[in-house]
Amino acid sequence: MLKKRIILINVISMLIAFVLCDMVTILLVYRNNVADVSERYQRDLDETATGLGSKYAANGDLETLKFYLKRQEDYYLVCYKTSGTDEDYGEKVYNHTLYGYDFYGSVNYKKNNVYLRFGDKVYAPITAKYMDLRFYYLCDVTTAFNKTWRTALVIVGVTVTVFAIMLFILIRLTKRILDPVASLKERAIKLSEGIYDTGIEITSKDEIGDLSRTFDTMAEKIKLREEELSESERRKTLLMANLSHELRTPMTSMSGYAELLLNAKLSEEDRETALMYMQSECGRLSRLSGKMMKLLSLDQDQELVRKKVSASKLFANVCRICGGVADDRNIRLICSENGEDFTVDEDLMTEVLVNLVDNAIKASPEGAEITITARDKSISVTDKGRGIPGDEIHKILEPFYMVDKSRSRKSGGAGLGLAIVKLILDKHNATLEINSTLGQGTSMNLHFV
């Protein structure tokens, strides 16, 4: 489509340009040849006319004029005597043209570029006036005319050749420019079908090449985006699967106990055990749903309330919330700070630290120490607990992941704490660095930008 249009437009403009050029050139050549010759003849004729005319005027005798005309022995000279007006050709005085051609009434001399052909000769008629005499002359411009004609032929020939070459180049060039567009189109189609790596490469260094490279970048970005989306989709599915598993387990035991209580004849002790487990499973479910709500509300675009909070305030919050649990297990929380400030959402950052300290407490043996340290742009929570196995460190941020499932469950974990921590830190553009040695302890470092 575009290719045809471009070629057509170019051909038309080339044609116009060539035709105009040729016309101007040929006209110039003509002027240089034919016109020059006829002008020379014209001067001669003017002289002759003046010479003959003055002789005629001197004695007013037409016979003498004829005599002189004859003496000219010019076969191309014709003379008329007129009444003086231009419309009247007048009475023929002398016509001795080679072909006996009668000019009278046949040629409109006012028009330029009128040529007469006799055999292979070309004549340009010219005229001169002396009083009431009209002299006509056929000047032989055959050589000049033929020369002009030959030159014109050469010019047209050259033009046609150049035109053909240019057309060829034009088609090739258009093809070269537009073919990448076609392959770009092909790629776009493939892209729409989800094929990102088409193997079609455009390496030209022009705008099309630029476009193609932009296209490449776009395809890459789309691919990346899609991968991200499917990854997030996969995560969501995994989260849902994990969630339903986490819900099912307490449901199974609760409905099992309920069935027992309802249908079976149980001893008093067994009844109490069943009820106790039902209650604790209910607690587990409610904790789970609480954490889940937290995670979901964080996942949505909840706005942060960022304020300058001193490290001592944050640490005080953490000690207030975690102090009881730590005391129960005789664990000491040691906070160290030097008046650092952090621009964070206080509630959420407290939540982060509480989660980390809570994990540290769960991992620590009784009577251990946990240190919470603030430095320039980071906060770290360090315990001397059991540590995280190296191959599991990257998994612990995933929702529902628990390094030690049964222990975590027993201590009330749902496997969501660190997932919440990660989400909150992401919102703060903060990063979490985990250093852990199995059996020696873990250090969780928050780095703020």
Partner: protein, 221 residues
Amino acid sequence: MRKNRILIVEDDEAIARMIAMNLKVAGYDTRIFLDGLEAYEALPEDNNYDLALLDVMVPGMNGFELMPEVAKYDIPVIYVSARDDLNSKLTGLTGGAEDYITKPFEILELLVRVEKVLVRNHKIDSTIEVAGLVINADEHTVKKNGREISLKPMEFELLLVLVKNKNIAISREKLLSMVWGIDFAGETRTVDVHIGQLRKKLDLYDNIKTVSKLGYRFEDN
């Protein structure tokens, strides 16, 4: 009569105790391990089990890994797992397990499956002694005080179901489907009539209890 002993490896304490309690009510002995590795380490000394209920995802050593060790002692295995994907089921069953139950399960289903596996592996006595009755499941006979009492086939099946699930209340609908089959388009009245016959013929007025709104329960202390 020897009680069947069942090994339970399940990391969720609530579920483990719940299963154990149900099995105890149904007349089985149980031992619970919350950790796969602990179960593995205890097996050489204590392997007198008739059946093992293994959770697949347990800490220490998972159910699939534990399976060959359990099989060494000729203990049939039923997996009880929250993993309900086909792959896990196939891995479990092709690995030699007798059955695969997914969580959440109905406890009655678990009991029935447990019993089926025990019967298939001849771990269960075909004679059941309960409440002064000697019931022989193979011969379809019931003796009370050494005297054989004739029962109609459906009465016998009903007695068997009640006795096997003793101390557990079973609804009339469930009894209908368990004894007469799911396709049986009868009324729950049928169950009442047969219960009446059993009570009369075997003098089980004290043992077969009507549980209001629920159904019947065979009680034996």
